[in-house]
Symmetry: C2
Subunit: 326 residues, 2 copies
Amino acid sequence: MHILVLGGAGMVGRKFIERLARDGGLGGKPVTRVTAQDVVPATPPAAAPFDFESVVSDLSLAGEAEKLIATRPEVIIHLAAVVSGEAEADFDKGYRINLDGTRYLFEAIRHAEGYMPRLVFTSSVAVFGAPFHEKIEDEFFTTPLTSYGTQKAIGELLLCDYSRRGFFDGVGIRLPTICVRPGKPNKAASGFFSNIIREPLNGEEAVLPVSDQVRHWHASPRSAVGFLVHAATMDTAAIGPRRALTMPGYSCTVAEQIEMLRKVAGENVVKRIRRETDPVIDRIVAGWPRNFDPQRALALGFRAESNFEEIIRVHIEDELHGTFVK
Amino acid sequence: MHILVLGGAGMVGRKFIERLARDGGLGGKPVTRVTAQDVVPATPPAAAPFDFESVVSDLSLAGEAEKLIATRPEVIIHLAAVVSGEAEADFDKGYRINLDGTRYLFEAIRHAEGYMPRLVFTSSVAVFGAPFHEKIEDEFFTTPLTSYGTQKAIGELLLCDYSRRGFFDGVGIRLPTICVRPGKPNKAASGFFSNIIREPLNGEEAVLPVSDQVRHWHASPRSAVGFLVHAATMDTAAIGPRRALTMPGYSCTVAEQIEMLRKVAGENVVKRIRRETDPVIDRIVAGWPRNFDPQRALALGFRAESNFEEIIRVHIEDELHGTFVK
């Protein structure tokens, strides 16, 4: 089985490929080849039992998608995207990569005769725009308030129409905020949700820029990879034509995040969180969804963590070899 | 004031331009010029107090939108579209006209410096796909089951994002089924809703292919024109970022349509309806929305008929000079 991962150099793509290497297969079938496409080279996974190839290309250029699917990968994981902040700052780039790039891919598959891959499209809860219900239902409408959310919502619509037409077998998954995100602190407005866990566990100080009553929607990187695996292997007959699914996650306040950090790592670690309110971040975060009722995804077998303690323990296991700075 | 009507040769476009000619103005401002663009020539309105120009062009060709907005029309009414059946039969054509054409228009406006027109985008209740609630609320999600509905839903998303960014001042209006549609019977699956009124009033037989318990969502051509006028002139500050609105209409069964025809025109006219069930049409119609709860549009001042008798009387007044074949 050949798997193509678009955006394969990113955090979720890399972790998905590492899991394939560990599992050796996908859905009970051996994986023989993985192609990781991105705008920068993707790191090969350790000890992979399959051929691994890194392709550096720009999916938003005409003809590039055709090259990537020329060998007919059975599964395509489409993670390639310009992130929210960049799509808002650079209107042209956001539409070129997130919309045109996605359409080039879908069109290339449509024109490839006798080809019908499973296509997993990663969307985002940014397809929802405030005001929304405290707990957003599966049938709530998509009225994004960013260009990124707009582009993801359009991608979902195209995914459903191309799937309905039988051009490919698509599954759209709306990822929660991924927490704890590994790596260095970044300037994303959502960064602090991860920073206040990751940095203290590393012995470093982290800034909490909002009230600890702020509620948000989380899943671990391990769960995100699990969503991809399930979306790539599930029986799509059960989905029907509404192929964009809000993934499960865990909703909690910052206070609960901190309480669980205290439980797992102790008071010394929690003391490394410094409160310094940032009104700009506070205002941005106030417009974000806080909770979901993802009944369809749960019924279709998608699973995430059911408490924040578990999310912290996954981070310590997967990123810190089971230990941290006390 | 210069008004550009894209798709100006169609039934709704023609009636809108005729109303402009009768009113002489729009929103209290005199209309000095109307440009009607379409793939076929548009008929000039009778006794228009403004310059009228018919432009035959294909909006889906690069560069055509730029030409149309070169003189900076203050209001753009975007009705140009490939209809549902054709968009389903010809995938490429539907996306080219309904999606690419719309994007070319939006992009041309974005790149026109210092230009900020009111843009009215006509969408459709085809953005909804079964199963839905018996009475579809304003916050119900858009999961179209046709390529046409997909293209309209994408147009709505783009309209909102371009408006939010300040590139133009957009209003999206989802039209009900227009009834009584003037002209000859056509092969559209929805045609019978109009045929069973129009043909008997003309002294002709009409076929009813479904049960008279079928419920549907109607507004007259006069109301459709009223929606365009209101969308072109309303204060958009009241809309907020969710600029796609389900228009008001009147929901009734075929039995009620027939009962009102009897009340308005008498038993002799009703006798010209012949029942001949067509299982194909019956199945198509079963997947259509039956009723809506368009609270937002009503609160924003959009108005339609409040009973089917009124819809029949509008037809007799506007199309039949107040008379019919008894």
